[in-house]
Symmetry: C2
Subunit: 386 residues, 2 copies
DNA sequence: AGATATTTTTCTTGATCCGGGATTAATGAG
DNA sequence: CTCATTAATCCCGGATCAAGAAAAATATCT
């Protein structure tokens, strides 16, 4: 630990305080963070010099004394790009340093490792152009559907059929901006912390369902990765003893009840027509298809078992549910609440709110932006905030 | 964060490095921690001035150059006392700053709040005298069987029948040394980290059984308490759907299968004779009583379910089992392994060792010493290490 | 209108800490 | 006895925080 790490810590805290609460004053930052006035002043001055913040004179509020100045992250100070790699598409979003999305872009993807670099570079160019900004590109976050090692390697991504792909290496040859890569679900959790319903919340558990089920343990202000980087892979929590077989070989995993393929299979098994995608399921549920509705209900029940286990273990202020779950909240909510009430420790459940993510559906691809922003401002960052 | 916090962090790391590896040299500390030689030298010098360490000239190992000096924590530099409050007894242990136990003492306790201060003071005096040391008493750690708030309040202790007892206040009036209080299970986990099988291990999950079942999540080098301080209360994980009723009101809790009363009740229900204590159970198991053996087997099976859930969630290097479980490891081990193999995600289970605690049975009451040592050397300490 | 009180921000100064290079201490080999 | 080698210490430069003084900007009182 070096003495300059202290400064970086202070700068990071102050940056996000301003980002989260635009028009905040130095006085207020001091009150919230407990930092010394000198510290705050000197860092804000530096931010100002770098063009990171804008100071807005605020109308003095009918009381004597110098009026506080309103600080906000300058929307033109820099550009971040988030990239989401999916099985058949690449998603791109450009955002300012404040995290506000400026432009979106998506393009199909052929799932070939060889073409990844070109495709990503093209997408970044396209979304940057579409943003209409000329601010420098400060960071690019790549959100990947698989296990990512700390060295920037995509160790395993079943959906893509990839193993040990050195994504960071491949892309840094063709993208000049600083690159940050991470697991998609953990990136989504970080986005939830930075931009979503868990803003400013230091402890929450994130659960995500899509073609698989994943999760993240957001503890003490950061995502807990564990000694081997696999902590928080919540898809294989056991929820039904001797239950359905899961692709992992064990039985009764959450993933075997909540993933999109699992839901589709169950609907078909109950005599429903073939399910093409999750949208199909939602449409049918909307139309009142009883098979689909009851499958969702059962899924909510089982989801409740998983959530109650998490509540009993972590006693978190919030459990956030993202991905397909969030889109189907109408059909899962009731049975979820019911099983939660039955299974969670009453004292603990009283301290936990279970919420459905909104940004996951409203503002896609922000996971990559969260990775980039964390990379640019975070404590091991080598940039921007000195 | 102040600049002096850096020094405290360095000092703390160096202290424990020396404690864990006596006769270590400065060179080796530098290699292990990555700190600068100046930093290490200056802190070791300060420790020396304070009498915390002894420098032993080591025989130069047949190669040229100045031989390294061996550093160890001086056993006479200070005294720590650990106090364990149980339902019918108080346990005391005196130890040096290196954590080595010097004397034990136990006395009966009438469970009255009023008499606690006197009883604890007497016990501390007795065990200090028995230690034969005259070193100053640097800290006292009180390990309490209940929920402890950060302000030193014992919020709720069912076994004692206490609620909202300001233990820290009560005792600080009669004990002059710095006091540190904590939950007994979390203190035991800390002891496991400082003195036991999880020494030097930054991530592990601790599970404890006794009259109840508790646990601790040791993550990234510290015990995770969560926003409300209840994280890691693992006794109410659900392990059997619609299972036995637990005292918490829900059904199928781990505690309802693994706590001593639960085991006793189950043995009696299977026609066994009345069970007085856990020792009775062990004796009968030893004698081959089939009812007891099969109850233990079932408990191991269910313990395996809980452990596999923890493995699936945390992917920890180690799950440590303490308390009565550790004493009954012979009878639980096999069925535990079996259900673990069936339920845990194979990739994750391969990275996890499940171990039984040894200090819990061999060296009792070290939880309090761990609390005291952490209080004295830890990062928010106001003493010893400047 | 001008002086004064009040509130917020900035500047100045002192102490502390890290970090790299130079120095000293302690040993074996020749 | 001298030299090479390795370990620990010392010295000094750069950076940081913290506390108090000063400056800036406004409302209010006279």
């Amino acid at each position: 630990m070096r003495t300059s790490d202290i400064r970086r810590y202070h700068a990071n805290e102050i940056f996000h305080r301003i980002r989260i609460e635009p028009q905040i004053s130095q006085k207020e930052i001091i009150r919230r963070t407990g930092f010394d006035k000198s510290t705050v002043s000197s860092i804000v001055t530096r931010f100002d010099e770098l063009g990171l913040v804008v100071r807005t004179p605020t109308a003095a509020g009918n009381r004597p004394g110098r009026p506080a100045e309103g600080l906000s992250i300058s929307p033109d100070s820099g550009l971040l790009v988030g990239v989401q790699v999916e099985s058949e598409e690449l998603g791109f979003v450009a955002a300012g340093l404040d995290g506000r999305p400026l432009a979106h872009h998506r393009q199909s993807f052929n799932r070939k490792v060889k073409t990844l670099d070109r495709a990503v570079a093209d997408g970044i160019a396209a979304v940057t152009a579409a943003s209409g900004r000329t601010s420098p590109l400060l960071g690019v976050g790549i959100s990947l559907p698989g296990l990512v090692s700390t060295e920037g390697m995509l160790v395993h991504a079943p959906i893509l059929g990839w193993r040990d792909v050195p994504v960071l290496d491949l892309l840094s040859r063709i993208v000049s901006a600083p690159l940050y890569i991470g697991n998609d679900v953990k990136a989504a959790a970080m986005a939830e912390h930075m931009f979503g319903n868990c803003i400013d919340l230091d402890d929450f558990i994130y659960l995500f369902s899509g073609s698989g089920v994943g999760g993240a343990l957001f503890l003490d202000g950061e995502i807990y990765l564990g000694a081997h980087g696999l902590a928080g892979e919540l898809g294989h929590m056991k929820v039904v003893p001797q239950g359905r077989l899961c692709s992992c070989g064990a039985a009764g995993c959450l993933s075997a009840y909540l993933s999109e393929p699992a839901l589709a299979a169950e609907v078909e098994a109950r005599g429903g027509k073939t399910v093409r995608s999750f949208d199909t399921l939602l449409d049918r549920a909307e139309a009142g298809d009883p098979a689909v509705v009851s499958v969702f209900e059962q899924a909510g029940e089982i989801l409740g078992a998983a959530v109650s286990n998490l509540v009993n273990i972590f006693n978190p202020p919030v459990v956030a549910l993202g991905g397909d779950m969030a889109r189907a909240s109408r059909y899962l909510g009731q049975s979820l609440e019911r099983s939660l009430g039955r299974l969670a420790h009453p004292n603990m459940a009283a301290q936990t709110r279970v919420i459905f993510s909104e940004i996951a559906t409203d503002r896609p691809y922000l996971g990559g932006v969260a990775l980039a922003l964390d990379g640019v401002t975070g404590l091991d960052a080598s940039s921007v905030i000195p």
